[in-house]
């Protein structure tokens, strides 16, 4: 539709925000209803459980008892469960561990990924093909769980925090996506920087990175979420619950239903101050706690997804 006339534009404006082209037949009532129903169902399947988790975490004992479990319609709001978990040493420590692993891990991963992606993004640079092969091979074949476990253990990773970060610090897929983006940076810009006497480091920092904000944001989110969700490495390498991240705490005390030290969360209700808290509310408060960072960062990065993924899909 390259021949958009003024009337077309006016027409489109009137019908905004819908942008159905004029040649398309108007939707049938049945089609419209069906589509709407499917979309509402799809959205509800995601939203309703999250809503219930959050509401249950904020509900007093009475509301939880009345619903005999998860609360859909709030009857009174209390932050007692949160006050309880914020005074719990195990949960607070696991929160700190999760935050530290996420921040430090993401920083390490981003530095390594950006440098490697840029180092390989120049066509015809020295040895970039064999290095690329070295990277890609790891996407096709991996030694598997046990040899990795033995290597990490041999390096002293057992019972130490770095085993949650370093073994998963590099994602070849992310490097390739970013490399595709960097390779798309206009060659004239890079040449101009070189003529001005900029080193490769300077070019990366002042020319390439500022034009690649979208992909940097998306990949930082991917890494960050990966670290925040770290569960299996913790299960594998950290026997001591004093070093656990949040996901391990949820797994052990919510999913497996073990009683949580320090909260006395068992099957009976308990008092906190003058208010009773349902154990379920405390469990859901911990779940909510792990949701919050994702929900906070997500809106800022989400608009870049299609761009970042599209390139990733093309480059494979």
């Amino acid at each position: 539709m390259t021949t958009t006339t003024a009337t077309d534009l006016a027409e489109q404006k009137v019908r905004a925000p819908s942008n159905r082209p004029s040649w398309e037949e108007p939707p049938t009532a049945a089609g419209q209803t069906g589509k709407g129903a499917v979309l509402i169902f799809t959205v509800a399947v995601v939203i309703v459980p999250l809503w219930m988790v959050v509401i249950t975490s904020l509900s007093p004992q009475g509301a939880v008892n009345q619903a005999s479990g998860m609360v859909l319609v709030p009857h009174g709001i209390t932050t007692a469960a949160y006050q309880q978990i914020f005074t719990n040493q195990l949960i607070m420590h696991s929160l700190l561990v999760s935050l530290a692993v996420t921040l430090i891990g993401t920083a390490i991963s981003m530095v390594v990924t950006i440098l490697c992606a840029y180092g390989l993004s120049r066509p015809g640079s020295y040895a970039h093909r064999p290095i690329l092969m070295l990277l890609v091979v790891t996407m096709f074949f991996s030694g598997g769980l046990i040899p990795s476990f033995l290597v990490v253990t041999a390096l002293g990773g057992y019972d130490s925090y770095w085993s949650m970060v370093l073994p998963s610090a590099v994602s070849v897929f992310n490097i390739l996506v970013m490399r595709g983006f960097f390779a798309g940076t206009a060659q004239e810009l890079i040449d101009a920087a070189a003529i001005d006497g900029a080193s490769e480091w300077r070019t990366l920092w002042s020319v390439v990175l500022p034009t690649s904000r979208a992909v940097v944001a998306v990949i930082a989110l991917f890494y960050g979420v990966g670290y925040w969700n770290t569960f299996f490495n913790a299960l594998l390498y950290l026997p001591d619950n004093q070093k656990w991240p949040l996901q391990m705490v949820i797994y052990t005390y919510t999913l497996q239903g073990n009683s949580m030290p320090g909260t006395g969360v068992t099957n009976t209700g308990q008092y906190f101050g003058h208010q009773q808290i349902a154990p379920l509310a405390i469990q859901m408060a911990v779940v909510t706690l792990t949701l919050i960072p994702i929900l906070l960062i997500y809106p800022f990065v989400q608009r870049h997804f299609t761009k970042g993924m599209l390139l990733g899909a093309i480059k494979g």
């Binding site: 942008n19 995601v46 290095i131 070295l134 096709f140 030694g143 997500y298």
Partner: protein, 315 residues
Amino acid sequence: MRDGGRVQKRTLRRADRRRRFLRDRSLLLMVIPAVVLLLIFNYAPMFGTATAFQNYSIYAGFMHSPWSGLETFRSMFADPLFWQSLENTLVLSLVQLLLFFPIPIALALLLNSVMNNRVRTIVQSVVYLPHFFSWVLAVTIFQEMLGGAGALNQALRQHGYATWDIMTNPDAFKFLVTAQVVWKEAGWGIIVFLAALAAIDQNLYEASAVDGAGRWRRMWHITLPGIRSIVVLMLVLRLGNTLTVGFEQMLIQRGAVGRDASEVLDTYAYYYGVVNANFSLGAAASLFKGVLSLILILAANKIAHLVGEDGLYRK
């Protein structure tokens, strides 16, 4: 004379290589951290698979453990639980291929036909979200919704209906697992298809509409061929990953449904290798899976080439 030319050419090439090395030395320096990490945490374990051919003992270590040839594989192939876990892996993969794979495509087509931009954006933001939750979180949410004490069964109880055992039923486990994958990943899966749909030339639609093609014919003759390549690519990836079915997802729910329903190759390797400290058997299971996966991905790519698509890499 000719020899002299060849020598000269070789020295020239060497000089050129040296020049390029010097020119690109900062680029090479940048690559080092990633390469070192990959060598330690990806390549060292690849050679570590040799433990599968040893009678590995953690005290003797890799260097001093005695070699045992194919003994480990023999005992693994004689273990009924190994075959059970292989069967579970294949069945789960097949069920997911049939019930999960089409859903993102259908959702993408549906969303693509929604003309209202605000509706599209809202739906997209919501359905991408579960992809960023951990499996611990996703399974916890399923547990609280559909478990024995979850919202659904409490509602059924309150209205006098019989409760529905979903989370701990071994027979329905493959469908539960697939439902969880759909909940967590189907929304995220639409993103590549939406991108492919957006890349279709819109003039094709207008031209065919003018020629009298209805919306279903346009979908059949324009939309579907337009996303064919990406569908084939995703299929290749899925087939290449046939033996990888949600390790964490299985591990977390193993206690609830029991080993017979939930043991897959990865959890088999984990339980034998780490939990029971039979490292050689665990490594053998991993190696078996790694080699078979490699064959699968190459075969899937071959098929993609045969139907005239690029697949994961070009011919």
